[in-house]
């Protein structure tokens, strides 16, 4: 078998076996690499997804210990009007909790292909497609049915005021810390879980000093994604301070469906303590959910994340984080808590090794938390 066939067979196997997808936003790099805004490295105005030429340079010089961050390691460059990329993640996990004991699993977590094409002078098209994950196979499951595009959108930027943009299509509305792990409470419970990208019309402005994004959103059809099926609005304003070493943000999210309405306000804090090589990230969101159900009170909700990332040298990050989510502050015992310790190593451009340990409790019982250990190999083109 020729090398070409072997590579094609391996690529096909990866696609077939691939599982759940993750957004590839890494807020840890925003302030720590001297880059003040996420769209300096990403095509998306809000960050995440395919990285641009500047991002690939940063992958070589600021993020990884060695290597060439260019597409295909610099072996071939796509034409000027086109950029391509790929993410692959394989994971091995160990879980242990009081009820079920220990379990282990090895599985492909993500295979996504990325594309950004400049269609006209100021208009570009972005696409992320791959295979969605599934907890267990079903009788009528097929590889084709698992193909999905979680992002596809058009972006327009005016010629003279490049900081502004208008974006239309499917993507996550800019909101919150935009952490890479979709199981963090500020993603999982606030409408940013896997394949919960909505269809949006978004307008915003991004500069080194500040950015804001205003987004009208509509639910994704149920055959394309999951989520709460609400129509609504999100607004996000971020201001960089202390010469780009810190940032604060205010945010709002409103959502309306036939069954309920959600009103949420929140804030984000980011602080790079350069002398200590420590990045602090925090988010808090307070919400109120009203239900169109007899006898149901409104549900005050609170979601918080606080993390500290130590970056002792280029290509090495150690993060400790605590989280809490209260689905109904009026009812005792509905809270969830998590504590995470995560080691990320970027030994060579295009490669990331991740080791994660997580403790999680529900309700008021803290004595025997569920435990999760995960090793992840991440390769991006």
């Amino acid at each position: 078998m020729s090398l070409k066939r072997i590579i094609m067979a391996l690529a096909a196997a990866l696609l077939v076996l691939s599982g759940g997808s993750r957004a590839s936003a890494y807020p840890y790099f925003q302030l720590t690499t001297g880059t003040k805004r996420c769209n300096a490295c990403h095509y998306s105005p809000g960050g995440g997804g395919l990285i641009n030429g500047y991002g690939r340079d940063a992958a070589s010089t600021d993020i990884s210990m060695a290597g060439n961050g260019d597409f295909l390691h610099g072996l071939w460059q796509p034409p000027d009007w086109l950029d391509l990329g790929m993410d692959y993640r394989g994971a091995a996990i160990w879980k242990n909790d009081e009820l079920e004991g220990s379990r282990t699993a090895v599985f492909p977590m993500q295979t996504d292909l990325y594309l950004n094409a400049r269609l006209a002078d100021r208009i570009s098209f972005s696409f992320i497609g791959g295979f969605r994950g599934q907890a267990r196979a079903t009788a009528n499951d097929s590889v084709i049915k698992r193909l999905v595009s979680r992002e596809h959108f058009l972006t327009w930027k005016p010629r003279t005021k490049n900081k502004y943009y208008v974006r239309v299509g499917r993507f996550f509305a800019p909101y919150g810390l935009r952490l890479p792990d979709h199981t963090t409470y500020v993603r999982r419970y606030l409408g940013f879980h896997t394949l919960e990208e909505t269809y949006n019309l978004s307008f915003g402005s991004v500069t080194n000093k500040r950015e804001y994004h205003a987004t009208l959103y509509a639910p994704t059809p149920s055959f394309l994604g999951a989520g709460a099926r609400r129509y609504g609005y999100t607004g996000y304003y971020e201001r960089r301070v202390h010469d780009g070493k810190a940032a604060w943000a205010a945010q709002i999210k409103l959502g309306f469906s036939a069954d309920d309405a959600v009103y949420m306000v929140g804030g984000v804090g980011k602080w790079w303590l350069e002398n200590l090589k420590l990045l602090l990230l925090g988010e808090i969101d307070a919400g109120m959910q009203t239900l169109d159900i007899d006898g149901a009170d409104a549900r005050p909700q609170l979601t918080t994340y606080l993390g500290a990332t130590y970056i002792p040298l280029k290509g090495l990050m150690l993060t400790g984080a605590v989280e809490r989510y209260d689905e109904d502050l009026d009812i005792k015992g509905t809270g969830r808590n998590a504590a995470t310790l995560m080691l990320q190593v970027f030994p060579y451009a295009h490669f990331e090794l991740l080791l994660l340990g997580k403790l999680e409790t529900q309700g008021t019982k803290f004595s025997k938390p569920a435990r999760l250990g995960m090793f992840q190999l991440h390769y991006y083109l």
Binding site: G19, G20, D97, L99, E100, R132, G133, Q134, A135, R136, T138, A139, V148, H193, T194, S222, F223, L224, G225, A226, A228, H242, A246, W248, D259, D260, G267, G269, K270, W271, L280, G282, I284, A286, L291, I293, D294, G295, A296, D297, R299, P300, T304, L306, R324, D326, E327, D328, L329, D330, I331, K332, G333, T334, G335, R336, E360, Q362, G363, A370
Partner: protein, 137 residues
């Protein structure tokens, strides 16, 4: 002095959360399927890789309230005559024989949801609903 402002904001926010937590009351939520579907099943069970229409893991699509009720209780939401619950998920008035309760508690079977367990008070609400005859509304 100004360098302390972000930390101060975080501490204020966490303090506010702790104050709000202290206000929690005992569970007086309605034990109806309409409420349980909106607040427990939909956010916890219908994620993209599980019992959403998209994945319908194990052949179960729990996205709509009417569809989920039919699957779990074995009769349409507004029908009073009991039907046959597929796989014995719910037997009205009998949580001790309802498979759903065994699954939510991980008792002699795989726990649901498999990734993160429900808070015990949510499991208790589901049990209370079954004890009251598993009404739809």
């Amino acid at each position: 002095m100004t360098r302390r402002m972000p930390l101060a904001r975080w501490l204020l926010a966490v303090s506010l959360g702790l104050v709000l937590l202290g206000c929690a009351e005992e569970d007086d939520r309605p034990a109806t399927f309409e409420y349980i579907h909106a607040t427990i099943i939909k956010p916890n069970c219908t994620t993209s890789g599980c019992h959403s229409q998209l994945a319908s893991t194990a052949g179960l699509n729990l996205e709509t309230m009417e569809g989920a009720y039919l699957i779990l209780v074995g009769k349409p939401c507004d029908q009073t005559v009991p039907g046959q619950a597929p796989r014995n998920f719910v037997t009205p008035y009998e949580p001790e024989t309802s498979k759903l309760m065994f699954q939510l508690r991980g008792d002699q079977t795989r726990r649901m949801p498999p990734d993160v367990a429900l808070p015990p008070v949510d499991v208790d609400l589901v049990e209370r609903w079954i004890l009251q005859g598993a009404p739809c509304r």
